[in-house]
């Protein structure tokens, strides 16, 4: 069964249409990355999928269940978690307390504090340290760990590596690889194209709120993605990687 299906989704802010007619699917264990310039609609799309922003149109289906009208906390209970841009940790709670906040009563799964530490060894020595004292990479690992504590089947991560040192990014992506090995589906927003091409199964490129290019990472060239990213001439995707069809290629 498809892990997450997004159909004809539209979302905005007043007169501004931030997400337009977006359709895509994610299969169990699959990693899909969204790239796009500032204002392309990436974060709004993730927030709408997670239930943090009300869409004006469209449908969101999680593991076969329509969750479009559900509030965010109910979606978390059904296995859909978001790591927001900026991490949003509780600064005066310890790393362990932040992780424990992420638990969801009644939701079964393999993730607990110790399995999170196993996936993100960087936070082991920081368990009793307040979140406000952490580096950017440590905060991101904690934020992802907190989301994992809800045992999501689909994890959304906004701006995985924004503002992080390269060595911290290497560590994070190493850990994210372990998640997909456990069957968790990932939908990432990431600006580093090389990283995306190396890690994600598929790439969606957004421009002005719409998906303008979609394809398997191995099929898309840097030039194709760059062209779609800026909307410049010659950026049309080849038929084999046609955009916005919603179907994985």
């Amino acid at each position: 069964m498809t892990a997450l299906s997004v159909e004809d989704l539209e979302a905005g802010y007043g007169l501004l249409h931030a997400v337009r007619d977006v359709t895509f699917r994610i299969e169990p264990g699959e990693t899909v990355a969204i790239v796009g310039a500032n204002g392309a609609g990436k974060s709004t799309l993730l927030r709408a999928v997670a239930g943090a922003h009300r869409p004006t149109r469209g449908r969101i289906v999680l593991d076969g269940r329509d969750v479009t009208g559900m509030p965010a906390h109910r979606r978390v209970g059904l296995g859909l978690s978001l790591v927001p841009e900026g991490r949003r940790l509780f600064p005066d709670l310890t790393v362990e307390e932040n992780l424990l906040v992420g638990r969801v009563r009644g939701r079964q799964g393999a993730w607990d504090v110790w399995s999170v530490i196993e996936a993100f060894p960087i936070i082991e020595r920081l368990l009793f340290q307040k979140a406000r004292t952490l580096s950017g990479g440590e905060q991101q690992a904690t934020a992802i760990g907190r989301a994992l504590m809800a045992n999501p089947s689909v994890l959304l991560i906004d701006e995985v590596s924004l503002g992080l040192a390269p060595v911290a990014v290497d560590g994070l992506y190493g850990s994210l690889g372990a998640l997909t090995a456990r069957g968790t589906s990932l939908l990432l927003v990431e600006q580093n194209l090389k990283r995306v091409q190396a890690f994600a199964d598929r790439i969606l490129c957004m421009l002005e709120g719409a998906v303008v290019l979609e394809g398997r990472s191995t099929n898309l060239t840097r030039e194709q993605i760059t062209g779609a990213y800026f909307g410049l001439r010659g950026s049309s995707p080849p038929p084999s990687t046609a955009a916005a069809t919603g179907a994985p290629s």
Binding site: L15, V35, Q191, K194, E208, T226, G231, L232
Partner: protein
């Protein structure tokens, strides 16, 4: 599109401008200029310093170091309103019209405050501005009833009514559909053809490159590339600034 020749005077210029927000350097010894009648695009990833540059040029921010010159005159210490009356106009990303006033009255605010005109001349100027922005049929509509594209047009009209020699546009295409962006582009091209210099920050690069003579890319507070728009946008250094290095 060909730009003005080298002899064209610089209408607005930032000379070795630096600025910090706390410990964070947002502009680092930046040199930037726009020639009389020239149209310059400004691009760069998040946090590159683009809007801060516009704030420095328009007088919203006084830089920590460096100078801003308008027509060769040092205006670094002049406030926004003084620069506006000299000929520095600005249109913002999020239009904020006076919602309870009509389209005409909004433009009139620009003409009376930005130019210190008398009543009849100000009326004439406001009407011309809304006409240039294709808002004449909506002149008596309250601004709060306008859609996004018309609000953006009004933002332009209000700036035009101040009689700018250089117009600073901050992501004015943001949130528009492709078709709307093209409509706005036509209006901006017409403004440019009237000889008004333009500095335009825009994330919609494919729209921007159709209206500019020159493109400047910023990254981390510095000028990364400056030149022909197509050349700048195909420069690997510029692409790397947006999408990370091609090497891990």
């Amino acid at each position: 599109m060909t730009g003005p020749g080298p002899a064209t005077p610089r209408v607005l210029e930032a000379l070795d401008v630096s600025h910090r927000f706390g410990q964070l350097p947002v502009l680092v010894e930046v040199g930037f200029h726009v020639n009389d009648g020239e149209s310059v695009g400004v691009v760069g990833p998040n946090g590159a310093g683009k809007t801060t540059l516009l704030n420095v040029l328009s007088g919203v921010i006084r830089p920590d170091a460096g100078r801003v010159c308008f027509d060769g005159v040092d205006v670094t210490k002049l406030a926004v309103d003084r620069r506006c009356r000299m000929g520095v106009g600005r249109a913002h990303q999020v239009p904020r019209p006076f919602g309870g006033m009509t389209v005409f009255e909004n433009a009139l605010v620009g003409a009376t405050n930005g130019r210190a005109m008398r009543r009849r001349a100000a009326h004439q100027c406001a009407m011309e501005a809304i006409d240039r922005c294709r808002l004449s049929p909506l002149a008596n509509r309250r601004a709060e009833t306008l859609g996004l594209l018309d609000r953006k047009r009004l933002e332009l009209a209000r700036s035009l009514a101040t009689g700018p020699r250089v117009l600073l546009l901050d992501e004015i295409g943001g949130g528009l559909t492709d078709a709307e962006a093209v409509e706005l582009l036509d209006t901006i091209r017409e403004i440019r053809q009237e000889g008004i210099a333009i500095v335009w920050i825009e994330h919609l690069v494919h729209v921007l490159v159709q209206a500019i003579d020159r493109l400047v890319c910023f990254d981390q507070g510095r000028v990364l590339a400056d030149g022909d728009p197509q050349v700048v946008m195909s420069d690997p250094v510029v692409i790397d600034a947006y999408l990370g290095s091609a090497e891990l």
